[in-house]
């Protein structure tokens, strides 16, 4: 007992130094991403599965909501993906056929852990809807007309939109900081096309790819 007491202060001091060092290192790299390939594979796969399962089980309001939540999780919390790459991945998810939530899970799974990653992420995204709908389809009239559920969902819609706005806030700040006039124009035009004119997302993405190709050609000529 007494021996332990003698050693403890020293080791505690050492521990403190180590944790303090780790904390500053973490603070330094707060804006950088973690190298996922250095993490144990089982841990990455487990994290992928539990993240998509949790988000899919609580995400009301469609694919974009889960995309914003995945962004928060993998950029802000885990630092496994950086902001630019995430936007690329979201563009891939949007321009592909099928449910955006599932596509989002696939791109993230594939980026972090290849084909096993895809399987884990998709499985997590798919289980909650199957279970919940199976349970509900037995007594859906009662479910549909339930007063308490309606109130709960109404409130949650306000929360969902707050989450989306918060994520857009962070992302748009990056675009405005760049002061790239063409990109600011694309931001406004894409919004008007999508929200006011109700143009299908795929056409908006194709148009942006066209703009990007033209810019690449112009840049190529300038440097030549």
């Amino acid at each position: 007992m007494s021996r332990k007491n003698r050693i403890d202060p020293e080791s505690a001091d050492q521990n403190e130094k180590i944790t303090a060092g780790a904390a500053t290192a973490a603070a330094d790299s707060a804006s950088q991403t973690v190298d996922v390939s250095s993490l144990p594979r089982g841990y990455v796969l487990r994290k992928l599965f539990t993240s998509t399962l949790y988000l899919s089980a609580f995400t009301f309001g469609g694919g974009y909501v889960i995309i914003t939540l995945l962004q928060k999780k993998f950029i802000d919390e885990l630092h496994w993906i950086d902001n630019d790459e995430m936007l690329d991945l979201v563009a891939i998810a949007q321009s592909s056929p099928g449910a955006i939530a599932v596509n989002g899970a696939i791109v993230i799974g594939s980026k972090l852990a290849g084909i096993p990653g895809i399987l884990c992420a998709v499985l997590g995204a798919v289980i909650p809807p199957i279970v919940i709908l199976t349970v509900i389809s037995g007594f859906y009239a009662a479910f549909r007309d339930n007063f308490f559920l309606h109130a709960l969902l109404q409130g949650m819609q306000c929360g969902v939109s707050a989450v989306i706005f918060s994520v857009v806030w962070d992302m748009a700040a990056g675009t405005f900081r760049e002061r790239d006039k063409v990109n600011l124009f694309i931001l406004g035009a894409a919004f008007v096309c999508n929200y006011v004119l109700k143009v299908n997302v795929v056409f908006i993405i194709l148009a942006c790819i066209g703009v990007g190709l033209i810019r690449a050609v112009i840049r190529g000529r300038r440097s030549a």
Binding site: S56, A57, T59, F60, G62, Y64, K72, D84, L89, A91, I92, A93, Q94, P97, G98, A99, I100, N103, S110, K111, I118, V122, P128, P129, I130, I132, L133, T134, I136, S137, F143, R144, F147, A151, L152, Q154, G155, Q157, C158, G159, S161, A162, V163, I164, S166, V168, T175, N183, I186, L187, F191, N194, Y195, N200, V201, V202, C208, G212, L213, R219
Partner: protein, 191 residues
């Protein structure tokens, strides 16, 4: 045989619904009501309402709902598998191409031009949810009399909590639901 039909019907829905949930709706309708007659139009309306009230993409919810009605739980699993299979193939190929070519100058320029569009569309998705929430009953921003100050306050409160404390978004969402539920219960039983 019914399993194969379910699989093929939802495979088509998964393969051709570009642009997310609401693009999938007419495809689901065409397969499930018009072609196979698995649901009536009234059933379909119920399905849409339930899909909006439960988490998960509408195409997946439809697959589970229809699969269950037609062939029980195996039907639900097979229909769901059909609806996600095209995504898995298509997106995996695109993701692999992206990983390989993302550092090409042309690719960078294209992706750089895509970023603001992606942000704009996510913002539009947020508006599509908040407008009906702030103007309950009508679902349109035109009827000023329907405006709900309470919902605006919940929205702003949630935004504040998210920005200030970087809270877990799911907890914020559930919290908003609890606030509204408490208000509605109080309004119904106390006053």
């Amino acid at each position: 045989m019914i399993y194969l039909q379910l699989f093929l019907a939802f495979l088509q829905i998964g393969a051709f619904s570009f642009g997310g949930g609401y693009a999938a709706m007419p495809l689901i309708q065409a397969q499930v009501i018009d072609h196979y007659g698995w649901l009536t139009a009234a059933d379909f309306n119920d399905l849409v309402t339930i899909a909006e009230m439960t988490p998960g993409p509408i195409a997946l919810n439809a697959a589970t709902f229809v699969g269950n009605q037609i062939a029980g739980i195996p039907g639900a699993v097979i229909a769901t598998f059909g609806v996600i299979l095209p995504s898995c193939l298509f997106v995996s190929v695109l993701a692999a191409l992206y990983a390989k070519y993302r550092n090409l100058a042309t690719m960078k320029e294209v992706l750089h031009s895509l970023h603001p569009a992606v942000i704009a569309m996510i913002f539009a998705a947020g508006l599509k949810i908040v407008v009906p929430a702030l103007f309950p009953g009508t679902g349109a921003a035109t009827a000023v009399s329907e405006f709900s100050l309470r919902h605006l306050l919940i929205f702003l409160g949630a935004l504040f909590v998210l920005r200030k404390w970087k809270s877990d978004p799911i907890k914020v969402m559930v919290g908003c639901g609890a606030v509204e539920l408490a208000y509605e219960c109080a309004a119904r039983y106390l006053f």
